[in-house]
Symmetry: D3
Subunit: 284 residues, 6 copies
Amino acid sequence: MFYLSDSMIDNLVKEDVPYLDLTTLLLGIGDRPGKIAFATREPTLICGTEEVQKILEKSGAEVLQFTPSGSFLPPGTTFLEAQGTAAGIHTAWKVSQNLLEYASGIATRTKLLVDRARQVHPPIQILTTRKHFPGTKELSIKAIVMGGAWPHRLGLSETILFFRQHLAFIGGIDQLGQRLAQLKARAPEKRIVVEAETYEEAVSLAKSGVEIIQLDKFKIEETSLIVKAIRKINPEIKIAAAGGVNVDNVAAVAATGVDMIVLSSVYFGKPADIRVDILPTGGF
Amino acid sequence: MFYLSDSMIDNLVKEDVPYLDLTTLLLGIGDRPGKIAFATREPTLICGTEEVQKILEKSGAEVLQFTPSGSFLPPGTTFLEAQGTAAGIHTAWKVSQNLLEYASGIATRTKLLVDRARQVHPPIQILTTRKHFPGTKELSIKAIVMGGAWPHRLGLSETILFFRQHLAFIGGIDQLGQRLAQLKARAPEKRIVVEAETYEEAVSLAKSGVEIIQLDKFKIEETSLIVKAIRKINPEIKIAAAGGVNVDNVAAVAATGVDMIVLSSVYFGKPADIRVDILPTGGF
Amino acid sequence: MFYLSDSMIDNLVKEDVPYLDLTTLLLGIGDRPGKIAFATREPTLICGTEEVQKILEKSGAEVLQFTPSGSFLPPGTTFLEAQGTAAGIHTAWKVSQNLLEYASGIATRTKLLVDRARQVHPPIQILTTRKHFPGTKELSIKAIVMGGAWPHRLGLSETILFFRQHLAFIGGIDQLGQRLAQLKARAPEKRIVVEAETYEEAVSLAKSGVEIIQLDKFKIEETSLIVKAIRKINPEIKIAAAGGVNVDNVAAVAATGVDMIVLSSVYFGKPADIRVDILPTGGF
Amino acid sequence: MFYLSDSMIDNLVKEDVPYLDLTTLLLGIGDRPGKIAFATREPTLICGTEEVQKILEKSGAEVLQFTPSGSFLPPGTTFLEAQGTAAGIHTAWKVSQNLLEYASGIATRTKLLVDRARQVHPPIQILTTRKHFPGTKELSIKAIVMGGAWPHRLGLSETILFFRQHLAFIGGIDQLGQRLAQLKARAPEKRIVVEAETYEEAVSLAKSGVEIIQLDKFKIEETSLIVKAIRKINPEIKIAAAGGVNVDNVAAVAATGVDMIVLSSVYFGKPADIRVDILPTGGF
Amino acid sequence: MFYLSDSMIDNLVKEDVPYLDLTTLLLGIGDRPGKIAFATREPTLICGTEEVQKILEKSGAEVLQFTPSGSFLPPGTTFLEAQGTAAGIHTAWKVSQNLLEYASGIATRTKLLVDRARQVHPPIQILTTRKHFPGTKELSIKAIVMGGAWPHRLGLSETILFFRQHLAFIGGIDQLGQRLAQLKARAPEKRIVVEAETYEEAVSLAKSGVEIIQLDKFKIEETSLIVKAIRKINPEIKIAAAGGVNVDNVAAVAATGVDMIVLSSVYFGKPADIRVDILPTGGF
Amino acid sequence: MFYLSDSMIDNLVKEDVPYLDLTTLLLGIGDRPGKIAFATREPTLICGTEEVQKILEKSGAEVLQFTPSGSFLPPGTTFLEAQGTAAGIHTAWKVSQNLLEYASGIATRTKLLVDRARQVHPPIQILTTRKHFPGTKELSIKAIVMGGAWPHRLGLSETILFFRQHLAFIGGIDQLGQRLAQLKARAPEKRIVVEAETYEEAVSLAKSGVEIIQLDKFKIEETSLIVKAIRKINPEIKIAAAGGVNVDNVAAVAATGVDMIVLSSVYFGKPADIRVDILPTGGF
């Protein structure tokens, strides 16, 4: 299990409560004892409980029940409970709920999408791009991994992926073939991924010895044809489909027989609906 | 116009390119001159161009064409162009596109929602909660403001809003009435907002002198009834509707005559679709 | 109770002890056991003990006695004690003392000022501006709240306050009246505060429907006159007095019957005098 | 000239304007052109203009007139002017004014104090402790240096100063004599400063070979006696007076003939009074 | 070309000059004009000039001559010159020299090592581990890339490398074979690297279908034998030699015919010797 | 004992594991229990165990055996052990090993060098410059102090050291004599160090009353002559030798009778060789 760092967690809390909780202060309820409980309202692959545990503890609360990120829970399941002061609970409340809702939303969408894809093509891998909300990579990556996907690229510094936007600078995709052997030798530990935008490009890349071909924004039927063509040329080549894949069309894309689907759609969408109950545990 | 701070912008770039751009380096194209252009693919209220200008300049590129955040553009409009080296352009590309797409997505959804609400009830105000993606408040708030909304609360430190989760600690909403005068006196500069969950609570709050009543998750028809009831009690009371309002139901909610709608739905959803063209400007 | 974040506390300690404690190292006393005790030397509303507890614990010391921020203590009261090594105690000493002295100085001045104002006009509220020492908002706001005041504005992002420096851009204060209804409608959750610099302006603002009028740098007798005039026009209007109010003149200002006093003077002045005793608890 | 770092300056601006300037936005004046001018209201040793220049430029304004920190100006002198948009000017305004007022307040108090001390004892040095407001060392140190003082210690990591709180761990000040030669040999580049609290201690330290003796909280007449006694023992020993020295008693302390005065009082007190004028430069 | 971020550069400068330059201040030479020039003293692959340019500019100096990182220069070559004030030059001096010396040291050692390896086995790749000085990854990675190497792994988040310390948790290296197909399917975009510690392990891994085998701390002659054995089993397998490779033995290791050498030795060692000349350009 | 701050430690861990440990995740071993043990492989003055303890605890492991920084251990000594999950142990492993190896490398080199110098000239002090790897001052200073050295200067803000690069701005070293008395009076708490580059300069500085003379890059025999000459002029003057001193020539330099040796060579060189054993403690 990996975690957001302490300083990132501090920043998230300060983003929501930079100085004081005016409402709690005005009511004068800060010192009263209470309980906070988080529960699912829909089937949810929860994500972020490790971070919320830290937020609660930093707010002086004691965690009574804990469920790790990655657990898939039916609606109505209480998965995290803590007791503390009203001040501590109200400080932790929304940032915790928010963190759980966004992270679990991503994780649950990912799981749904992975499940649908695997139902029609069990060995398929779902990979997510770097197109998450800027500034949220730590939490977004944790969430997609919990949901069963894998990061396609964390950024520009660890993977090699040729887009047409790179190849334009060497004179286009046709120039790649001649340089491929040299490029592969230069980066023996990396797989080189090349994006194809037409049937012809894909076939040409397959013949030139590219190991992974990423099909960009092809129609389903085109993808099927290309997969067959590539398999005939070299069954070892891995094929990724990318561009506009979401929960509605993922099964159809998976059915084309591609090895991987690269997508961003799990990163956005409705956050999970997490119910939060806050109750006093003392008198008035 | 307000901006993300330089250090936040540095962080966003480093999140995507922590060390080097492996692909550009491997291809050896870093020093070649090129152009990058950003264009709309759909009607878009663009947001984030000020930040992208900084990212481009930090990457050594020169901005040739600039359009400020807040401009509403038809599809196919090029709104930002720069020239630089391939290395600079590729470093700036995705983080810029991503920032523009998420921010413009929020801004455009906000504008659409504001427009629909104002069509049926021109004086209505759209306010957004603090339920944005954790860690993105700077950009999210900029985007909703560009779209015509206003932040409901930035966090716990500047507004007073009594939820039942606060009132539970003083013995419930009924106890509020007795203390209201004293609470108002203690915070004369702030408006006190109280959340009501039933018709009875709303009426009782209206009678007790609350200035702003926030109706939480009421049905449309209930909201209409309550608005009428409250107006009869005191036409000066401002009424906010909150809970589950989105672009599909906002007109119906606005038609109930509430003064404000408080919502989170603009914060998430599909990012705007921004086209990016990258082209070499020299030979090979 | 709210706290400085861990990373802010780390920064404060590193500001005083960036690398090592040369003196303790040279003497070779680092491992010797000892005690540190903090006590008041004058009547003090202490503030910052939560942060000092964290500093002491981060320095490896164990807190033996603790008193929460907000306690008003007579001279000679020991309110915080810890035991640890000489190295830990010396690392924590000055930054802890300093933090307590500055924060308690602000808190105590605030309390004194609030007390004096309330003695002559019990319902009055003391509000503090954003004119604290740059970079100290977290601690400064905590301190004034402990002392019984309230932040007037945390910054530019959560309140609406028209100074003449804004109105100049629309053609002066006279232009405001025409636009007021529209401005109020646009920000229904916020109270709009307008600064008046003359009797005529104040009266004119009162007539135009402004909810809160902030009188800037008026003489006591003028303030009294204006308060009466405004009350006659509309007793619901809240009146704030601002500009040069301090512990010496606060009672006089309060006696004018204003609802609020807005001031900065509590932020600066002599820090509280906190006695620190450090004693070895072992032999030599 | 030394400066606050860019990231510190960003933090100061964000502390005051974390997201947007609500007032300017509501008024819709953001794009209008204007001017901002800073002027003294009293004799002021200005400090912080380099940082304010950066704040103004980061806010998109162009600096028209600039005066460096360290200039001593008569009342009514305009020392910094810039032009920009109303949005930029209002974003920069208060944090700039605040930074100038606090820094110039410290610098001016320091100059006054240095001047008074030097009038009676020209070679005297004024040194400031590390008892500034926690979190403000960069600006506070810049200000006292501009005023003619010198930091006594920046923190624990670069100087050696034995307080009784250290000596307690080796059995008291009497034990120091025996170890002094060894301690001096161990730190040949540093001067060792030892604090004395009684006449006897001071004399004993002088005889034992301490190079700098810091007299803690002695009365003026005691200080005079001790200075004479020490000079007789060894005229090379430097003597510092510390504890409660401020602008009122500094001349008397200086007259005792000590070499240095160590004090904190310049760090706090009334900020300088800086007048800020903001004016539109276009029509309406 | 990639750069350290602005905030990292700010941190490096503040590490060396946290508050002020005492010596320059004491001498009173801060405002005098001067020049600073950096030159090689030995054959040097310079690295870090982009960062030093920023440091100089942040210190108010103007860069007159600039040479990009990656240039290989003979001794006595002046590669960077700037003019500014004595204060600016002295602030920038040591942190700039230090940054250039450490980064160029790494880059030059890397180049030397790459050259030696390529002389005996031209297609070989030199890869560097994550064993750089903690906290220096940005600069260290830039330096090895300038020198012609490539990062083996940036950290744990982007590569898959099975050490015995992982395999122990599944029952040892023998268990890997059975799971390999499944592991490869799960991470189709990544190459899986497995470390072998004996001849038998290496052969067994080769037979089981591992794509990259990393030989850990083998003797030269053993490595030669294993390379031959693996090539016979499957010439497509890539072989990396790791453990104790440095400039003295790299040619011998390269001569074994491995595809890659993984090493850390370039990260440490003597910094490059960079001459810095500082001269006044005005009178006295 | 002093420590790296929590946020610095967080940064170091994130530098190595920014998001997740891909290998552990792929193998699915994250939850399995295990042990990690750190042991010396050569005589080592260990440094950094306090920080590694924190890293291990932040990774959820429990420390079973601990040895403080500064302990000098024979080869084969296990000095730190912890138990936790495989995920926690693998997250902590390399950053911990790396931190220990670099810090202990510096500390051990320092001790060796101090020992050699003291053997020939027991009272000598070893001082280290600010020429450590940029960005590593906290850890580097801790390490040299553990090894028995002392920081010569932490940076520009706390010491006064005249290089020829300063003196050039006042017209050269000859001008210094006339101003020395004034400079010493201005900074009575500081020792003024002046660098000499020739015999004549050294003698002239000695006569002019400088307290510490730093001999820059003199040959051994020259140093001996100068030491004698200076001792004759004034036996109180402290003499430092600087420039190119390392473990091989330190004894010879020490034998010249200088009081201090100023060097950077301990900061770089081979990290200590620390053995790490990781073993599962459960079944499979």
